[in-house]
Amino acid sequence: MEFLTSPPPPIKRLELEDPPAALEVAPPAQPAGGAAQAPGGFTGARRSIGAPQFSIRRMEIDDVSVAYSDRLAVKGVSLPVRQGEVLSLIGPSGCGKTTLLRSLNRLTELTSTATLTGRILLDDVDIKLIEPTLLRRRVTMVFQQPNPFPMSVFDNIAYVLREQGSRRQRKKTLEPAVHSALARAGLFEEVKDDLDHPALKLSGGQQQRLCIARALAAEPEVLLLDEPCSALDPQSTQVIEDLIVKLRDDVAVVIVTHNLQQAYRIADHVAFMYLGDLVEYNSATALFGSPREQRTQEYVSGAFG
C-alpha cells in the first residue's frame, strides 16, 4: 500500500485577460470607453446588465455609525438605496459591510451590545419609528447560508404570509401568493409538482432561491442579500445573479459580496468600505474602471483584501 505515487497534476489556470470572442458583445447601455483600462481585469463584456431604466430613492442612510460595545464597526456612512438599481457593498472582511446591511432592518438590535447613531430613512420615515416586525416585512433579508425552515417548500412561504405564529388561513387561500413568490424567485417551475417536498432536501442553489422567494413573499420594498452566493457552486451563482438583476425593478436590492467579479457583474452602484469607513461610492463602471481613491484602486486590483 503506497500513497502519493506520483506528483499531483499541474493546476490548469484560466486566462482571464482575453475573454472569448463570443462574450465581447457589450450590453448596449455600456459606455464603450474606459472599460479597457480597468484594473483587475474588469471589462465591459463581463457586465450582465444594462443601465437601470429608472431609479426611485427608497432608503436613505444618513451619517450612520454602528458600534459593538465601544468598537466602531461602521463610521458615519451615508448612502442612498434606490429601487431600479442593485447596490453592492464591497470591502475586505470586518469592514462593516454586513453590519451596515443588518442595520437596515434593525437586525443589529438582536446583538445587545450594538448601538446605532445617525438616521436611516425608509420612504422618508425614520426606521426607528417603525415597529421592528413591520419594518422587517418591508426590508427583508437573505443570508449567506441557505436556511430554509425545516418544513415543506409550501410551508416555508406560507409561514411568511401568515400572521405571526398562527396557522389560520387555509392552504387554498394562500396558494396564489405562494406560487407567485416562488415564480418571482424563479423556482416555481422546478418545484411545482411537489410543493410538499421538504425544503431542506432541495439542492443548495434551490434552497437559496427558496430563501429569496421567502423574502419576496412579504412584498418588501427593499431586499437585503448578505453574500447570498458564497456557499453555492458557480452555476447556481449565475442563476441567482440573473435573478437579482431581474428583481431590481420591483425592489431596491442591496447585496453584500466578497466577490468583486460578482459586484461588477450585477451592481449598478458600488460602495467600497474599509475599516468601517465608506471609502468610495460610485457607479459600478466608474468604481471598477476609474476609482477615485487610492485604496479602492488597490482593493479592486487585488493588492489587498
Partner: protein, 318 residues
C-alpha cells in the same frame, strides 16, 4: 472510480498503523463487543425467563394474599400503577422542562438568574432519588397539601400517586431540559434571524421554527425521562405507600380517589417479589421485570422513529 476505492481502503485500513495504535483499536473494539454481549445477555435471559413465567392472566389479575404462587394473583395493579405514574410525572416534567430550556436558550435574562437556574437543574440531576423521596414525604405530609393524599382528622398520610409523580417528575426534568437545550442550541443562529428578518416575533419563531426543529431532541429527553420514571424504585417505596394493590381514598370522586390513594408499580413489585422482598415469588418477579423491559425497549424504539422522521425533513448544511 476503482482508484478512488483503493485509496479509501488504504486510508481506512489499520495495517500500516503503529503497533500501539493497533492494540488501542483492538481494545476499543473488544470493549464495544463486550458491552453488546452484556446487553444481549440481559435481554435474552429476561426474554427466556420472562416468556416462560409470564402468563397473560398476570397482566389482568391484581395481586392477592395467598399461600402459593398459584393463589397470589398477578400484577395488574402494579402495571397500571406504572402507567399512571409515568403519565402523571412526564406531563409535569415535559412542559416544565421544555419551557425552562426555551427560557434558558432563547431569552436567558437576567443572566444571573439563568446561571442559577442552570446549576439548580444540574443539582437536581445529581440528587439520589431516595433523597428526593425523603424530601417529598416532608412536603406532602404538610396540612396544606392534604388534598393530594389520604388525610383524616388533620393527619396527612403524604403518600399517593400525586406525591410520587410530583417527585418523579424532578427525576425526569433535568433530562428533558438538557436535551431540549441541546436541540435548540443545534439550530444555527442565522435560522432564527431568517425568521426575524421576515418580521416574525421571537414567540412565533420559537413556536413554529425552533420547537419543531428540536422535536427529536425533546422526544429523546422525554423518553429518557420516562425510562427513569418507570425505572425508579426509591420514590415509589417511600412516596407511593408501596401497597400491593390500589388503595383509593373513600372521600373523593373517580379518578381522584385512586390518584390520592396509595398503590404500587412494576419496579416495586419486582423488588417485593424478588427473593429479598416480602412476597418471595421470583418467577413473577421475572415476569414483571420482562414487562418492564419491554416498556423500556418500546420507548427506545419510539425515539428511533422520531429521529428517523426528522432525518426525512433534513437539516442545514454547515
Amino acid at each position: 472510480m476503482l482508484l478512488l476505492k483503493e485509496d479509501k481502503a488504504a486510508v481506512e485500513g489499520s495495517a500500516t498503523w503503529a503497533l500501539s495504535d493497533r492494540v488501542g483499536l483492538a481494545i476499543c473494539w473488544a470493549l464495544g463487543l463486550l458491552f453488546c454481549a452484556i446487553a444481549v445477555a440481559i435481554v435474552a435471559y429476561l426474554f427466556v425467563k420472562g416468556i416462560s413465567y409470564l402468563d397473560l392472566s398476570m397482566l389482568t389479575t391484581p395481586a392477592s394474599a395467598g399461600f402459593s404462587q398459584a393463589e397470589s394473583g398477578g400484577f395488574s395493579d402494579a402495571l397500571l400503577g406504572t402507567l399512571i405514574v409515568a403519565v402523571l410525572a412526564i406531563s409535569i416534567a415535559l412542559p416544565t422542562g421544555v419551557a425552562t430550556a426555551i427560557w434558558l436558550v432563547e431569552y436567558g435574562r437576567p443572566a444571573a438568574l439563568a446561571r442559577i437556574t442552570e446549576s439548580t437543574i444540574e443539582a437536581i440531576a445529581g440528587i439520589p432519588s431516595i433523597v428526593l423521596a425523603l424530601f417529598g414525604t416532608v412536603i406532602f405530609s404538610s396540612t396544606a397539601l392534604g388534598f393530594l393524599s389520604r388525610s383524616s382528622e388533620g393527619v396527612v398520610f403524604g403518600r399517593s400517586f400525586f406525591a410520587a409523580s410530583a417527585m418523579l417528575s424532578l427525576v425526569a426534568l433535568p433530562l428533558v431540559v438538557a436535551s431540549t437545550r441541546e436541540g435548540l442550541n443545534s439550530i444555527p443562529r442565522h435560522v432564527r434571524e431568517a425568521s426575524y428578518a421576515v418580521g416574525k416575533t421571537k414567540a412565533a419563531t420559537v413556536r413554529r421554527i425552533l420547537l419543531p426543529s428540536s422535536r427529536p431532541q425533546v422526544a429523546t429527553g422525554a423518553m429518557l425521562g420516562l425510562g427513569r420514571i418507570i425505572g425508579d424504585t426509591a420514590i415509589i417505596i417511600v412516596l407511593l405507600g408501596a401497597t400491593q394493590n390500589f388503595a383509593p381514598v373513600e372521600d373523593a370522586p373517580f379518578p381522584l380517589d385512586y390518584l390520592r390513594g396509595a398503590g404500587t408499580t412494576l419496579t416495586n413489585f419486582v423488588y417485593e417479589a424478588s427473593p429479598t422482598g416480602n412476597l418471595n415469588q421470583p418467577e413473577k418477579a421475572y415476569a414483571a421485570a420482562f414487562v418492564l423491559l419491554l416498556m423500556v425497549l418500546a420507548l427506545n424504539g419510539a425515539v428511533d422513529v422520531v429521529h428517523r422522521r426528522a432525518r426525512k425533513v433534513g437539516t442545514w448544511s454547515s
